[in-house]
Amino acid sequence: MQLIKDRHIIDDTWRYLADDAAPIDGDITVSLARWLNDKAQLLGHQGKLGVRIGPSDSAADLADDLAHLQLIELDFPDFADGRLFSQAWLLRCRYHYAGEIRATGHYMSDQVFYLSRVGVNAFKPEQAGHLAVELSHLNDFTVQYQKSVN
């Protein structure tokens, strides 16, 4: 699978670890709940660590752990749920997270410009065919009226 990161299409090296799955090697993402439960064990993991959050999760729960995380995945169950836009802003501006923030799930290709402005720097569309489209939508506007992350 491929994704967009920092405006380039690259291969996705990350693996999704379900809450009931045994740990595997390599770069893995876990749910916020699993991270909070198994933090001690996961910190010994060989490979990079990422956490998946949804709209009802709180970025504040990760505030003290961000140094251990190379990826935070924003998992959109519904493009109309805008909470993750604020979560991304909080991760960047309030908690100064510098790693990858990736949009996944049911976001809209037409939302990538706004997502990039609130600090999302990677996009993994549900359909691989949307990669080129999303790359171009990142340039929908050359001007902006207000401060955000970017």
């Binding site: 493009f79 805008g82 979560q87 309030r94 902006q144 955000s148």
Partner: protein, 562 residues
Amino acid sequence: MIFRLQGTKTLTMYQYNDTDQTLVDERVAQFRRQTEQFLKGEITDDQFRALRLRNGLYIQTHAPMLRIAVPYGLLSSRQLRKIAHIARHYDKNYCHFTTRQNIQFNWPKLEQVPDILAELADVQMHAIQTSGNCIRNTTADHLAGICIDEIEDPRPYCEIIRQWSTLHPEFDYLPRKFKIAVSGALHDRAATQFHDIGLHLVNNDAGETGFRVLVGGGLGRTPIIGQVIKPYLEKKHLLSYLEAILRIYNLFGRRDNKYKARIKILVKESGLDNFADLVEQEWLLTRDAQELSAERIQAMKMQFVAFDYDADAGQDHSFAQYQQDQPKFATWIRHNTVAHKMAGYRAVFLSLKAPDVPPGDMTDAQLDAVADLADRYSFGQLRTTHRQNLIFADVKQADLYPLWQQLDALKLATPNIGTATDIICCPGLDFCSLANASSIGIAKEINEALDDMDYLHDIGDVKINMSGCMNGCAHQSVGHIGILGVDKKGTEWYQLTLGGSSENEAAIGDRLGPAVAKHEVTQAITTILDVYVKQRLDGESFLDMVKRVGIDPFKEQVYATH
């Protein structure tokens, strides 16, 4: 920037710079691409719905409806001519002015909407965020900058808010729509107590001017009066405080039920104090990074400087003479014009409530003619009001008589501003897919029943607001008399309320009794007005009498005759 127009006329309204123009042009290009993708089946109905709503486009009963933003109700004659042109070429030769100072077209073709938006961008207009769950057009006092009771002109702040809220990346997918209104006067003409955020320019004890911030007001299904969340906010913190409220709302507003998703429900369910604490904590963390500089405010104020008024305008004697000689003109002056802060000038209301015309509608020919009159008599500008009329804000008293004659010929001089036939009305069943009621037809019936101008003027200030459904687009719950269309087993019924007000003494109307049938509405209204005429005290207004006696005397008569 003061924009010179036709020699002596100047525009004192915000003029787009390169950034503003680029932004609307890029938005048009984006929507053109989105429309093409939708028509080719490349984006889903659901996705396109969200995208088109954020460009003002609804799909209605008969055709799409396009809502265009009129920022804080201010229009130039050039913009009005463009609206006339769009009405002629893309619609059925008319447009509709809404209760939030915007303009709607009822018959555009979906494929042509990108072209319409491009035409609008040519005259510094757009339809961005006029619907959808995002921050909507910021509205203001329609007498801003010219009224005698003003602390400070709210329009520079409205424009600052317009820019901040336009394409705000974090707040475009809120739980529900979000409306902001700003008033700078002692008398609240902007219904600020019924907005998600209401801002009042006020003076503090030190004599400085800042904002009193209200939150959680709103109409619709659950009308609630806004509460003061910050009694005094320094101007430099305006945007940071708005941002803090919006972030808390975006994160914690309910998303499980669209009827409980407005910020008013969040404020009510969490309690004002708890909500205010959350906002305060958020704001303290961000306010220093978002300060509005004094220079930015000053530069924006320069876009709204007063016109170059004629200091001798008050020397004219013809105005008094015409009023003496022409009782009809004097009546129009009394009802359709108001005082101006500059001696020798008045603000003129153009009534869009003529008998036989759906409230708030204008034809392309009227629009063009009004644009010409604005150039000739009112510095090339006009304003829209939330009661769906227009205003020429700066007319010399010597020009009022010829202006009246020309407005009369255009059927825009019905002397009914603020009276019972100045009805706020939604498009209803005739156009809207949500409506239960034919609001326009009822408004016409009431207008016909109250065709005696002397009677109408004797009744005086009565605000009738009529909505075709619970969504309350015509603000029926704050009408002195509210009329709400409800559906009972497929037939139209009408729920009446009395005693609402959207002004300083904000109130939500009390229900009169059981809903009445469609053919009984007009009689119920005339009965209510008759009770008032018979039982009022000397000089007592309708609203004051309702407050004094309650609804019972009205109820007895209305239901006695049915």
